[in-house]
C-alpha cells in the first residue's frame, strides 16, 4: 500500500477545525497551532493542537496481518476570555462557549470517517491576572481513535517468496489431532 501523503492525525486536526468553523462565538477565528496570540478584538478565538498520542498496546499483539495499530490521539481545543471581578457570569459565558464546542464536536463521532471514534475527556480552566482584565483560559480535551497499518520496514520492501506450506487436514474438524494428516508441500523451484 503506498504511503499516505497526509498523516491521519493531520486529517483529524483539519476535520476538527472544519467542524468548529463558524459554529461558535469564535466564528472563523479557529487556528491549528499550539502557539497562538490573541488580541482584544480577537477574543474569543480557538486554537487546536494535538499534544500527545498513544498506540493501544493490545493492538500490538493481534495475529492479523498486516498488523493494524490503534492510536489514541489527544486533541486540545483552547480558548480565552477576559472578565472583571464584577462579571459574575464569566463561568456561564465560558460554559456556554463549551456547549457550542460540544455541539459541533459531537455531531459526528467519526468526523467524516477520519477516525473510528472520538470522545470528550475533560475541561480545564485557568485564570491569569496579568492583564487589564482577568483572563480565563479554557481547554476542552478530546480523545480520537484511529487505526493504521503498521508501516513497512525500510529495509524490507517486499515479503520473501512463499516456498513451502505446512498443511493439516481434518475432516469436518472432527478428527482427533493424532489422526489428522499433516503434509509439507514445496512450492519453490
Amino acid at each position: 500500500m503506498p504511503a499516505p501523503t497526509t498523516h491521519q492525525s493531520t486529517l483529524i486536526l483539519e476535520a476538527v477545525k472544519a467542524a468548529l468553523l463558524n459554529k461558535t462565538d469564535a466564528g472563523t477565528r479557529v487556528a491549528l497551532s499550539p502557539l497562538v496570540t490573541f488580541r482584544d478584538n480577537q477574543i474569543p478565538s480557538i486554537a487546536i493542537w494535538d499534544p500527545s498520542e498513544d498506540v493501544v498496546e493490545a493492538s500490538w499483539e493481534g495475529s492479523r496481518s498486516p498488523r493494524k495499530l490503534q492510536h489514541e490521539m489527544v486533541v486540545q481545543i483552547q480558548t480565552a476570555f477576559k472578565f472583571n471581578q464584577a462579571m459574575t457570569e464569566i463561568s456561564a459565558t465560558a460554559n456556554n462557549f463549551k456547549r457550542q464546542i460540544e455541539a459541533a464536536m459531537h455531531a459526528d463521532y467519526t468526523f467524516g470517517g477520519v477516525c473510528t471514534d472520538s470522545m470528550k475527556r475533560s475541561t480545564t480552566k485557568q485564570v491569569d491576572r496579568d492583564s487589564d482584565q482577568f483572563v480565563l483560559f479554557m481547554t476542552v480535551e478530546y480523545a480520537f481513535r484511529y487505526l493504521v497499518d503498521a508501516p513497512e520496514a525500510a529495509d524490507a520492501q517486499a515479503t520473501d517468496s512463499l516456498t513451502t506450506v505446512d498443511t493439516r487436514f481434518s475432516l469436518n474438524n472432527a478428527q482427533a489431532p493424532a489422526d489428522q494428516l499433516q503434509a509439507q508441500r514445496g512450492l519453490g523451484t
Binding site: 482584544d40 492583564s131 487589564d132 482577568f134
Partner: protein, 106 residues
C-alpha cells in the same frame, strides 16, 4: 529631614509633574474624591501553555493620605480618563505611597 519627608517631597513633585486626575470612590459608602495619581498602562501578556492574550496592565500610584479610605481594607473603584476600574492587590511602599493594580470594569 527624615527619609519619609524626603520621599513624600519626591512623591509630590512626581505627582505634580506626571499626575492625572483620579476619581477614587470608596467601597464603604464614603463620598468619592478626586485625587492626583500617576497612571501607567504598559503592555502585558497573559499566557497559559502556548496561548497568549495581549493586553495591558493598568496601575496607579497614589498617596494614602489623599484617599478617603484605605484601599488595603476597602474595595474602592477608580475612574481615570473615563474608564472605571476595580482595585486589586494594593501594594503600599511603607512610606505613604500605594500602587494599585487596576482591572477594567467593562
Amino acid at each position: 529631614v527624615t527619609w519619609a519627608t524626603l520621599l513624600e517631597t519626591a512623591d509630590r513633585a512626581a505627582l505634580a509633574q506626571w499626575g492625572t486626575p483620579v476619581v477614587y470612590t470608596p467601597g464603604n459608602g464614603s463620598p468619592a474624591a478626586t485625587v492626583t495619581g500617576i497612571f501607567s498602562n504598559a503592555s502585558q501578556i497573559a499566557s497559559s501553555d502556548g496561548l497568549q492574550v495581549i493586553g495591558t496592565q493598568p496601575r496607579v500610584f497614589l498617596r494614602l493620605e489623599d484617599l478617603p479610605s484605605d484601599p488595603s481594607s476597602d474595595e474602592p473603584t477608580v475612574t481615570i480618563n473615563g474608564t472605571t476600574y476595580t482595585v486589586d492587590n494594593p501594594q503600599v511602599d511603607g512610606e505613604g505611597g500605594v500602587s494599585l493594580t487596576l482591572y477594567r470594569v467593562s
